[in-house]
Structures are given as structure tokens and as C-alpha cells.
């Protein structure tokens, strides 16, 4: 998996869905704490990751280490894909 492409895909989804400008989306901060998404947003993003990268996210993986920023999410997806 190309991480840069994956980040780009996720960014596009976020920009389209949450009506923010690209420069307003930090790659290494929590999207919730920044007010870009609310609790519903996290659920939408999790579904987006599952569908786009054909992965299944398990209960115990729902932690800030995996979802705390765009970079963390993509690294998490990457680990899932590599282990698959």
C-alpha cells in the first residue's frame, strides 16, 4: 500500500465530507479535538477505512493510538494490510 496515496484518499474524503479546506486539516492532530469531526464523524471515517482499504476493524483496535490523527489511521491501516 502506498501510504502517500492512502493519506490523499483519506484527506479527500475528509475535505468532501466535513467541508474543510485542505490546509485546515492537520495530519498529526486529533480530528475530534480540532473540531473537524464529531462523534458521528469518527464512525463515518471508520466505515470509510474499512470499505476503501478492505479491512475489518476489531473492537480492541478502537483506540487513540490507531485513530488519533490521519497519520496514525493510515499507519494502522498499513499494519493491518501488511499483516493480512
Amino acid at each position: 500500500m502506498d501510504k502517500t496515496d492512502a493519506i490523499e484518499q483519506l484527506l479527500e474524503f475528509i475535505i468532501d465530507t466535513y467541508m474543510v479546506e485542505r490546509e485546515e486539516v492537520p495530519l498529526d492532530e486529533s480530528l475530534i479535538d480540532e473540531g473537524i469531526i464529531d462523534s458521528f464523524g469518527l464512525i463515518e471515517i471508520a466505515s470509510f477505512l474499512e470499505n476503501t482499504f478492505t479491512i475489518k476493524i476489531e473492537d480492541e483496535e478502537l483506540i487513540r493510538e490507531n485513530f488519533g490523527s490521519i497519520i496514525k489511521m493510515i499507519e494502522f491501516v498499513n499494519r493491518k494490510k501488511s499483516n493480512a
Binding site: 467541508m19 475530534i32 479535538d33 473540531g35 464529531d38 458521528f40 469518527l42 487513540r64
Partner: protein, 658 residues
């Protein structure tokens, strides 16, 4: 209920001043369609439009007694007791109205008399003995009162639209206040969304001398009796709270015209209706909002409650089209943007009440604020437990209990995601904002939609500073639940529930709402109760449910709390993605640029998301953003297109020129 207007120091001739007052109160005619009156001198002008409820024959206003003249909106519920007290002191009364009671309370006790009043009121009292205008507002801000200084004159009014009639004056939206309003669903302290117009703060009075200089004094603060209230056991609290609530209802049934009640299908309004029924020996009328969209409709519970109580029930069924057709009018009356369309059905409900010849309704507002009825109280409890027990395994289950009515949370796995969401507040919930941190974080995204030229940014420190200006000295010593109660009573309740959704929607059809849970004795009692009486584990309003468990249907007390909701986005965007003509017009490039508040490109981007209609899963945030922008545009529209009414001279009952 009525509309009041006042002006200080208008130096024009008597006829011009009378005309100015008359046209101002013509904008308040809906608040008081029965009659109007004017008191007009070179020092002060007072206007009044009256909805006659107590002493229909004689209680005309403005009312004069010796050196004192009053124009007053509202009710003093304990006026009979106060009248007795005054008579015992040798006071002579000319009418049987509560207006004369408040006037004479001031005459006998001065501003120290305001603490004696149990009611919902805004009053302008001219005191010629000190050449000053005394303005006072009820403890919790149930009745509105605004003030603006323009060209060296100070003006007062029940509604801001009356200021539109002042020659040369035009309301202007202050974008920073508008953003603050978006963060909290209310502007903080005494600000309004408009430039230079402020509110008289709840629980205060102000004394203006004839040159407009003024001094503000507070006569009530929420929680002021905390230290002096005696600690009661749970059983004692149950009994004393029930007795107090019954007395509050009894006082609020005082009226010379028939009284009805709103019935939402929830516990609060059912309890109030039950208590009304207990205290009257005739069938009374209850009123409800029902929806065509069955996901929002609560008719089943409303009918159940009405049947149990034995009321004569009426409901209005609201469609998506009704929302679209009436939201503009609702904003005309409400005068400020809202975040959901829920006020619109209440605007239509008050019309139904009016058609049933009822002028006064009792409602259940205030119970959620004083008895921990909102989810935010549970959220704070969870955060606090989590902070103190970081490894607790029950956090996810607790979060799950928060939203039983949201379908997509049925997938249990998703609660892990919710936990991550709440984790972000572990560091902030203990600051002065308590649960408002959650509301602010969810709402700050709105900054992105403002016109970039306005430079709107979110600055938490600044907001905290403003908030601290309204906090009482002992706030830091309160429990989290008490803090949140206070914040709800100061933000959402007056800024949205009692005004946009309450007073203004009821008064749009000349209906007066009365709120037994907001009797200050009830508020103080609830405030002083231990938290666990109100929120037992996660059982909200526990003591209230317990008191009435044998009196109201179990299905109503046991059901999960559902917020009262009306169709939002779906009322304005069809399945094919087409917007209604009204919404298209208000969100057009021309109108967005003309009013200058928002960024048209951002609005377009937002709307693109709904080009194939409004998905079932659309959440709180998108609905809120859309309704906020649309209704901000409508508020601007009404600034540009003020309505002018004229009053019938035959209805003028007081016309004093001195």
C-alpha cells in the same frame, strides 16, 4: 402578558414623542392585542400593549400612582399575598391587578421589594421622586427586556423589532456575537447577536437617571440559598419537593381567563398536567405537536398522558412543508438564528391554542436543567468516573447508555469509537465550562462557514474570560452537576428554550407560557439536593419520576429521554436534492453576499453533499450548520425588510401626556 417599550430623554415635542412610542409598540402588538397605552413626558416615554389576563376590566397600563408610573410585562404569581401584606401596612388599592401590586411594592419598599416577587416579569418603573427609570427583570430571564442607546437616548423594549421603528436606527448583526451564539446557542452575559443592543440580565435591576447613566444591581443569583438550606434525607426531599412543586402549580393557575397546558409526551409536561388536574375540578385543555414523520412523532405518549389525566386534548400535525412555510415567520418573531427547526411547530401550536380561546398554558420547561435531565449531565458523570478510575471496564457500557435512541449506535462495536471521542474531553471537562466544552467543540466548526473577511476564529481563552464574568463567587465550590445546572440555566434555557422556542413562539399568537419548574423556590430546592437524588446512577430526574411513579403511566416515566425534534434539513431539501424556493433564495449567492455573514463557496460545498437528497444517517452537526446559516440569513432578511403595523386608536386605554 404584554409588550413594553420605554425611552429616556427624548427632547422632541410631545406629538412627535407620542408618535415614536406608538409606532414602537405597534411592533409589539402580537404580545398584547387587547389594548394599548402611552405615558408621555419630556423626561420619559412609556408604551404598553396589553394581553388582559388578571383584572381584565381595570388593569390598564401604563399605570400611575403618585410619583410612580409602570409599564410591565408578565405576572406576579404571589400578588394576592403581597397585596394583603401591603394592605396591612395601610396601602390603598384602586384595582385588583398584579400590576398595581408590583407598582406599590416599589412605592413601599423601593428596589428592596423585588426579592418579594415570585413571577416572570420585565418592568419599567418611572420614579419621579428621583427622576430615574428603574428597570427590572425576573430571576431566570423568562420575560425578555432589551436596551439600546442611540443618539443620546436610551430605549427599552420587550422585543428588539420595536427598535426598528426608531427613526434612523437599524439593527446590525455583530458577527463575533453571532459566532458566540453558535457556540453556546446563546450569547454570553448580556450581549445579543446585534450590535449595541443588550439584554437586561436576569435577576438584576438597573437604575437610569434622566441623562441615561445607570447602575446595575443583582437581586438574585442561582444557588444563593445553598448554604442556608437544611440538609434533608431522600424521603424528606421527596415530600418537600412535591409540596413545593404543587404550590408552584397552584400559584401559576391564578388567572382570570382559562388556563391550558402543553403536553409533549415526556415526563415533565405530564407531571405538570397531572398536577393541574389535581388542583382543578373541571376538565382542562391540553395541546401537543404531532408530526407526519413518524420517526419524530410522539402522539402515542401524548394521547396516553391525556387519557390518564382526562384532559380535552388537541394536537397540530406538522409536515415538512409546514416547517418550510413558517420558518421565516418564526424567525421574524424570534429575532435570532436557531439551530434546529423545533421552534416552528411551537409557533403553529400557539395558533391552535389561540383558536381554542386559551390565553395561558403551563409547560414543563426547566425540569431538565434543575434535575439533571440532559445527557450532558451523564456525560460529565462518565468523564469524572473515568478520570478517577482510568482502567475501569465499565466506561464503554456507560457511554452506550447515553444514546439509546440513536439507531447507528445499535452496533455495539461503535461504542469504542464513542469512547475515543469522549476521551478528548478528559483534560477539559474540569475547567469552568464543564459540559459546555462538548457543545463548543461540536459547534466551533461553524467558524469555517463565516465570511473570511470577518476574521472569525475560535479562541477558547477569550470565551472562558467572558464566561467567568457571569459566574458567582462560590462557583468553584459547587459540584460538577451544580455547575452544569447553572450553565444550562444561563445559556440554553434563556437563549433558546425560553426565548426562541418559548416566549417568542407563544407570544406570536398572544399566548402566555408559565413554567412551574422555574419557580425560584423550586430551582433553589433542586439545586441544593445531593446530586444522586437527581441523577441516580444514570437515571435522570430520578426524584421526579419517583414522586409521580404511581400517578403517571409507567411507559412515560420509563422510556428513554428523547429530545423534542422537528424535521431539519429534510424540510428544505427534497429527495432529488432540490431546495425549496425559500431556502434557495435565502442561500443564493446574491443574498449571501448582500448580508455578508457567510462564505458562499463553503455553503455550495456543504450543499453538494445533499445533491441526491438528505441521507437517513444525517447527523446533528449537518442539520445544525444548515439551520443556523438559513436562519441567520432570515434574521438578516427581517432587518432589511421590517414589518410596520398600525394600532387602532379605539384600543388606546391610557394616554397620559404631562
Amino acid at each position: 402578558m404584554c409588550g413594553v417599550f420605554g425611552v429616556l430623554g427624548h427632547s422632541s415635542d410631545s406629538d412627535t414623542r407620542r408618535e415614536l412610542i406608538k409606532s414602537a409598540i405597534s411592533a409589539l402588538e402580537h404580545r398584547g392585542p387587547d389594548e394599548w397605552g402611552i405615558y408621555n413626558t419630556s423626561k420619559v416615554g412609556l408604551g404598553h400593549t396589553r394581553l388582559s389576563i388578571i383584572d381584565v376590566q381595570d388593569g390598564h397600563q401604563p399605570m400611575k400612582s403618585d410619583d410612580y408610573v409602570i409599564s410591565y410585562n408578565g405576572e406576579i404569581f404571589n400578588y394576592l399575598e403581597l397585596r394583603e401584606e401591603l394592605v396591612a401596612q395601610g396601602c390603598h388599592f384602586n384595582t385588583h391587578s398584579d400590576t398595581e401590586v408590583i407598582l406599590k411594592i416599589y412605592q413601599y419598599f423601593g428596589v428592596d421589594g423585588f426579592v418579594k416577587l415570585n413571577g416572570q416579569f420585565a418592568a419599567l418603573i418611572w420614579d419621579a421622586s428621583i427622576n430615574s427609570l428603574v428597570v427590572v427583570r425576573d430571576r431566570l430571564g423568562i420575560r425578555p427586556l432589551y436596551c439600546v442607546t442611540f443618539e443620546n437616548n436610551v430605549y427599552f423594549s420587550s422585543e428588539m423589532k420595536a427598535f426598528d421603528t426608531i427613526p434612523g436606527f437599524k439593527r446590525t448583526v455583530n458577527p463575533n456575537h453571532l459566532f458566540e451564539h453558535a457556540l453556546f446557542w446563546n450569547t454570553l452575559a448580556d450581549k445579543t447577536v446585534y450590535e449595541s443592543i443588550r439584554s437586561i440580565s436576569a435577576g438584576t435591576y438597573e437604575i437610569f437617571n434622566s441623562s441615561g447613566e445607570h447602575k446595575v444591581s443583582r437581586y438574585y443569583q442561582i444557588g444563593e440559598t445553598l448554604a442556608s438550606q437544611k440538609q434533608e434525607s431522600y424521603d424528606e426531599s421527596r415530600d418537600s419537593f412535591k409540596a413545593l412543586l404543587a404550590d408552584s402549580v397552584k400559584l401559576r393557575l391564578r388567572s382570570d381567563v382559562p388556563v391550558g397546558a402543553y403536553l409533549s409526551g415526556g415526563i415533565d409536561s405530564t407531571v405538570i398536567s397531572y398536577m393541574v388536574n389535581e388542583q382543578t375540578n373541571h376538565a382542562f385543555k391540553t395541546f401537543s405537536v404531532a408530526f407526519e414523520d413518524e420517526r419524530l412523532d410522539e402522539s402515542k405518549y401524548q394521547i396516553m398522558a391525556s387519557a390518564e389525566i382526562g384532559s380535552i386534548h388537541s394536537s397540530v400535525v406538522i409536515s415538512n412543508e409546514d416547517i418550510d412555510n413558517n420558518i421565516s415567520n418564526a424567525i421574524y418573531y424570534g429575532e435570532r438564528p436557531v439551530f434546529r427547526t423545533a421552534p416552528v411547530p411551537l409557533h403553529l401550536l400557539s395558533k391552535d391554542v389561540q383558536q381554542h380561546d386559551i390565553k395561558v398554558v403551563l409547560t414543563g420547561e426547566g425540569a431538565d436543567e434543575i434535575l439533571c435531565g440532559y445527557d450532558v449531565f451523564k456525560e460529565l458523570k462518565i468523564l469524572n468516573h473515568w478520570k478517577n478510575n482510568p482502567n475501569s471496564e465499565s466506561i464503554v457500557q456507560s457511554i452506550q447508555s447515553l444514546y439509546p435512541h440513536l439507531d447507528h449506535y445499535a452496533d455495539k462495536r461503535r461504542f469504542g469509537l464513542m469512547k475515543m471521542y469522549y476521551e478528548g474531553f478528559l483534560n477539559s471537562y474540569e475547567n469552568d465550562f464543564a459540559g459546555l466544552n462538548i457543545r463548543m467543540t461540536n459547534n466551533k466548526v461553524i467558524a469555517n462557514y463565516f465570511n473570511k473577511d470577518l476574521g472569525i476564529t475560535y479562541n477558547e481563552e477569550e470565551q472562558l474570560e467572558t464566561l467567568r464574568s457571569i459566574l458567582p463567587d462560590d462557583y468553584a465550590n459547587w459540584t460538577l452537576m451544580q455547575k452544569q445546572s447553572f450553565l444550562e440555566l444561563k445559556t440554553l434555557l434563556p437563549g433558546y428554550l425560553l426565548s426562541s422556542q418559548g416566549d417568542r413562539m407563544a407570544m406570536s399568537h398572544s399566548i402566555e407560557g408559565r413554567f412551574p419548574f422555574l419557580d425560584h423556590r423550586v430551582v433553589e430546592k433542586a439545586f441544593a439536593m445531593p446530586d444522586e437524588y437527581k441523577l441516580k446512577n444514570f437515571d435522570q430526574k430520578h426524584i421526579l419520576k419517583d414522586i409521580f411513579k404511581d400517578n403517571i403511566p409507567k411507559q412515560i416515566t420509563d422510556r428513554p429521554k428523547r429530545p423534542y425534534m422537528a424535521p431539519d434539513l429534510a424540510a428544505f431539501i427534497g429527495d432529488n436534492g432540490a431546495m425549496t424556493p425559500m431556502a434557495s433564495d435565502m442561500l443564493s449567492e446574491q443574498k449571501v453576499n448582500e448580508y455578508g455573514l457567510f462564505d458562499y463557496t463553503m455553503i455550495q460545498k456543504f450543499l453538494r453533499k445533499f445533491r441526491r437528497g438528505v441521507p437517513e444517517t444525517t447527523g446533528y452537526r449537518d442539520n445544525m450548520i444548515f439551520i443556523f446559516i438559513l436562519t441567520s440569513q432570515l434574521a438578516s432578511y427581517w432587518i432589511e425588510n421590517p414589518r410596520y403595523n398600525s394600532l387602532d386608536e379605539n384600543n388606546c386605554k391610557v394616554d397620559i401626556s404631562e
